[in-house]
Symmetry: C2
Subunit: 109 residues, 2 copies
DNA sequence: TGCCTATATAACTAATTAATTATACGATTT
DNA sequence: AAATCGTATAATTAATTAGTTATATAGGCA
């Protein structure tokens, strides 16, 4: 579960949409396919799901003839929070205040 | 500054590396190019910078014959925090506890 | 003015991605 | 055992991305 794979997985709108679905409840592959009916084929969804699993942000479990998918919140929050901590001075400890102030003046937001 | 563009911008390791540099101090395009010496050409970096700017996560300012770049922390944290809030039940208010518990049992982390 | 320096853009190419249709596979039902 | 259902994989193709070299543009300096 590399950082690279996680950000790669998040770079697709359909994949982020799948994550949003899974954040509310676990689903079978078929249920997810239905949500994308008329927009994308079953194999396309299957591929997206395998990318998400390979990135380590969802789990997969075969039950009978269905395959259930669910969110691995910890992996997702872990990666993003770690990235934010690395890249955002304001959340970094012992930063000099003058830096952040100057930066904010430059036209933030 | 769409969510799509931000995640697209973050999906590249060199671009995340540029953001990490900019999180410590503003830099000119040339200084950034130097950090990638022997790895990537000047035009390649220029392209990455324009993608980052277009996504709204960095600002750009021409000063004399240099162009200075800097991080727009607020845009970055804003987008990621919003995404996390949307996708991570544990950070979502009024969630039923039974959901999260069941999910955690499934093999989180 | 004419020449550097810093940066961006253009033209091109190779590699990757994202979809499609067709097919295979494993589990259930008859 | 055969048909069916749910899902994944294979083969293919079109579109996108990420880099290259070459060139343009704009600012500072002799």
């Amino acid at each position: 579960m590399t950082v690279d794979k996680v950000f790669e997985a998040l770079s697709s709108a359909p994949r982020r949409r799948i994550l949003a679905y899974l954040s509310r409840t676990d689903m079978t592959a078929g249920e997810i396919v239905q949500r994308f009916a008329e927009m994308m084929s079953q194999p396309a969804i299957s591929k997206h799901l395998s990318i998400l699993e390979n990135a380590g942000v969802v789990w997969r479990e075969k039950r009978g003839q269905n395959v259930h998918y669910g969110l691995k919140e910890d992996a997702l929050t872990g990666t993003l929070v770690h990235f934010l901590a690395e890249v955002c001075p304001r959340s970094r400890p012992f930063r000099k205040d003058s830096e952040a102030v100057a930066r904010r003046k430059k036209g933030q937001s």
